[in-house]
Amino acid sequence: MAGNIWVLAETWRGQVTETALELMALGREVAGQLGVPLEAVLLGHNARPLASSLGAADTVLYADHAAFAEPTPEAGALVQLIKERRPHAVLVPWTNLSMDIGALAAAHLEVPFVNGCKDLKAEGGALVAQCVVYGGKLEAAVTATTTPALFGVLPGSRSADAGRVDKMPPVVDVAVIMPEPKVRFSRYLEPETGDVDITQQDVLVAVGRGIQTKDNIDLAEALAVTLGGAVCGSRPVIDQGWLSLSRQVGKSGMQVKPKLYLMLGISGAPEHIEGMKDAQLIVAVNTDAAAPIFNIAHYGIVGDALEIAPALTEAVKSKKG
């Protein structure tokens, strides 16, 4: 008799995250396939009301502790719960916030922690994860050899809306004994507020390594201005110091959902895709016809961004009159 399916319902600054809700949708599916209950693990402090968005679960295991008021990656609680309750599998969001917790817990319990899952399903009573490996160049179908097993699931596996069920499920209060922390949270460091909030833009022109030099970003700027939008960038461009941190899109940057996301010289690494996959219209320009971005974009142009961008600017200008 297989154990339950758990979802680690990560919270960020007082709210259950989108990724956690996506995992709820996935967990619901998988639990249904295995014919077992779905339980959500909620770790918080005075955060019981948050369970109301976790209605997709059959039960919410709620552990309250002052330590959970801050985002300190403490795995002790998860370890205790898994030891006590022996679930079949725990779905952990593969995000900066939760991957530590999952990895520490798995290390402590000496159980598998399958990385980078983009999908999960049950096949003959066992869970098979579809994992992204080698930066997305290959994919692997992976199973865990023992249970319980932890699965680190990438954002975007399902839609958050499908996972959000606004009904208060049964909540079980569980007691956890937290060890003396070796890591203490001090404070948040907010990003310098840029001049522009890219998450509010309808049009974004994104630049990647293919823009080649800082000066060439002017070409993107001209295009963005003509389209009534703003410039943003992938991690390499921000790391070079060519754009400020407030313009970074991706796993560690902003999540954006503009009406138009125009990509110049971005190859399509998974970390960047995470930040913009929900854009309504994605148009990509890249010199490499085999770039992974063309599998994500709606429209593609094979060419040099340094040639295409000015051409686009010209055409839009004349169209606008």
Binding site: T213, T287, L306, E307, P310
Partner: protein
């Protein structure tokens, strides 16, 4: 005529006074010169006395013949005349000094020796005219980067003074001794100015002229090591100990921060520099607005040596952004009349910056790519020969079968998608002409020319070793390359390889009839001499003969042959972030120059980087549709394509 130092002045015998003045002047002069020599000796040794025959030849042509001065308008002949006047006047002065200090010596004064007096008169007059021309050039039509400094004014005045005092003296002597006029034509002419003077007044004036002349020269001598006229003393050595071939770099080192780490020849540059500004006028980095001024680099070296050579130089006196702006086009060194080696100093400083890891991130990325994949594009070395796909024939692998010509393709021609069609066209043309050629496939690495000029010697050695290993496995007779940068490195910095540029091979093929144009190209074009093909390796005619052989009309740009203007990609610049302060890119200036020629529709390049730089420049300069950029091979392919 009385002996000028036999008489007494203010009760002191003339020769005693002369001894005192001479001693002071020579002491002041020597002290400074000895200080300079001591400072130079603290720098690193360097062998510049090899191939002494060639060196003497260079000395004759460039010091005695003042050859490079003739490359700019109006100043060549005047400077030659001033130089030779100086030679005669210096001789005359030494002679005068000797006799003047030792009156009992049984030799005449120089102006008492007919031929010597004549030479001094003739050169003196010519020199005065030349000085006038030089002054007009410096003060009225001031060339860019030539400063009208107080020092320059003082020098011109002193030279004028010593010439005028001599000529006036000659005039006075002729007034007093008319029968000596045979050897003193000018003296005879000038004598008429002084006919109104009584003999004893004329004699007094003559004495005054002699003393004034001597004091002027002694003063000049003492001042010389402190002024830019130090180049008089230092530059003959600079030329004699100069670089025998263009395009070189300093001997292997780990870079220099302080004087002791530079070589004495590099530090000598500071003393030989006459601050004429020719280097700046030619420099693409300077003219496009970047912080680099080759003249200022030389000036900083001069200040370092003058100050006794203490303190950190690299990154402090000369800033990193100046050091990185150089495109290593060698225009500065080609124009410099005193054979200064600006690039040697810059590369030495770059080596130090690289040793500290002080390179911009983009350059770092390029160097890491070169190290790892052997090309700056960051693409796998296995993809180097992907350009061959799509050709209807197989390009031979020179490592597997013997070939006559080993074609060293180069990074840009192999990997840049804009250039791959030209590379394929090259293969097609060679195949058509029946040339037995092959490539090294993924055994080829970047030849390392620009890696060396960026200052990464260790990486250059690594690339060279890998390339030599690949050459070692291959069987071939000659190496041919489409890339001038690779040409330079393979020909001059890899031992014992016989290397041709593709234009030289095409020239041979066309002349031998192995390549026949099927049609005449009715075009009027202009040809850009690539830096490393033309200026550095002297290959100017082969490409032009090829164009002529295709029936193409070639119109030269104002800056042509050795004065060709760099596209700005060399010296590793194409691997770095943009230099600050650019007002007009070098490549844009060049395409504007080409577009300015009426009837010319096409700029022909013979270097992959040139093609790419000019194509981009045409766009940014708004010349699309007005000027086409084509590689020479594209024209050859068009002309020789078989009519179907």
């Amino acid at each position: 005529m009385t002996n000028p130092t036999a008489t007494a002045i203010l009760g002191i015998p003339g020769w005693v006074l002369l001894w005192v003045l001479a001693a002071v002047s020579i002491a002041v002069f020597s002290r400074r010169v000895i200080r300079y020599v001591r400072t130079l000796r603290r720098a690193r040794p360097e062998n510049r006395v090899d191939r002494i025959g060639e060196r003497i030849g260079m000395f004759v042509k460039n010091v005695l013949g003042q050859r490079r001065l003739f490359e700019e308008g109006a100043i060549g002949l005047p400077h030659l005349l001033i130089f030779w006047a100086f030679v005669f006047y210096a001789t005359g002065f030494a002679w005068n000094l000797l006799k003047g200090l030792l009156p009992p010596l049984p030799i005449p004064y120089p102006d008492e020796v007919g031929p010597m007096a004549l030479a001094q008169e003739v050169f003196g007059a010519l020199a005065l005219l030349s000085l006038l021309v030089a002054a007009i050039r410096r003060y009225v039509f001031t060339p860019q980067r030539l400063e009208r400094s107080r020092d320059a004014t003082l020098i011109l005045s002193l030279i004028t003074m010593l010439l005028v005092t001599f000529l006036a003296g000659q005039g006075l002597r002729a007034r007093l001794e008319p029968h000596a006029n045979a050897w003193s034509p000018l003296g005879g002419l000038l004598a008429s100015l002084f006919t109104g003077l009584e003999p004893r007044h004329a004699e007094r004036m003559w004495l005054a002229m002699w003393w004034l002349h001597m004091i002027t020269v002694l003063g000049f001598l003492a001042y010389l090591p402190y002024s830019k006229h130090l180049h008089l003393l230092a530059s003959p050595f600079g030329v004699l100990f100069g670089a025998l071939k263009p395009g070189g770099i300093p001997a292997a080192s780990s870079g220099a921060l302080r004087l002791e780490e530079f070589t004495w020849r590099q530090m000598l540059n500071g003393l030989t520099c006459a601050e004429c500004g020719r280097c700046d006028r030619a420099c693409p980095a300077f003219n496009s607005g970047t912080p680099l001024s080759p003249k200022m680099v030389m000036h900083h070296v001069k200040e370092l040596v003058r100050a006794g050579g203490n303190g950190d130089f690299t990154g402090v006196a000369v800033k990193a952004e100046e050091i990185w702006s150089c495109t290593a086009c060698y225009s500065c060194m080609q124009r410099c009349p005193v054979f200064n080696e600006h690039i040697s100093v810059i590369v030495e400083m770059r080596r130090w910056l690289v040793a500290q890891g002080a390179v911009d991130k983009r350059l770092q990325g390029s160097l890491m790519n070169l190290q790892r994949y052997g090309n700056s594009f960051g693409q796998s070395d296995r993809a180097r020969a992907k350009w061959t796909q799509g050709l209807p024939f197989k390009v031979k692998d020179a490592r597997k079968e013997p070939v006559e010509y080993l074609w060293f393709v180069g990074d840009y021609a192999s990997y840049d998608p804009r250039l791959q069609p030209v590379t394929r066209a090259t293969a097609t043309v060679l195949q058509q002409a029946g040339v037995d050629f092959g490539i090294l496939y993924d055994g080829e690495r970047n030849a390392g020319n620009d890696v060396r000029r960026v200052g990464e010697e260790g990486l250059f050695e690594m690339l060279r070793d890998k390339n030599l290993q690949a050459f070692g496995k291959a069987q071939f007779q000659k190496v041919m390359t489409t890339d001038p940068h690779s040409l330079h490195a393979l020909k001059n910095e890899y031992d014992g390889l016989s290397v041709l540029h593709y234009t030289e091979l095409l020239d041979e093929l066309l002349r031998a009839g192995k390549l026949k144009p099927e049609r005449k190209l009715d075009m009027t074009v202009t040809y850009h001499d690539p830096c490393y093909l033309g200026r550095v390796n002297g290959i100017y005619d082969a490409p032009r003969r090829v164009l002529a052989g295709l029936g193409v009309k070639v119109v030269e740009m104002p800056r042509h042959h050795s004065k060709s203007y760099c596209c700005g990609a060399g010296g590793g610049r194409v691997w770095m972030e943009d230099a600050p302060g650019v007002t007009e890119r070098a490549s844009e200036s060049r395409v504007r120059e080409a577009a300015g020629l009426s009837d010319v529709t096409t700029l022909v390049a013979a270097c992959p980087k040139d093609s790419v730089m000019f194509q981009d420049a045409v766009k940014t300069a708004g010349l699309e549709g007005k000027l086409a950029i084509k590689d020479l091979m594209e024209l050859v392919e068009e002309a020789t394509r078989p009519s179907s």
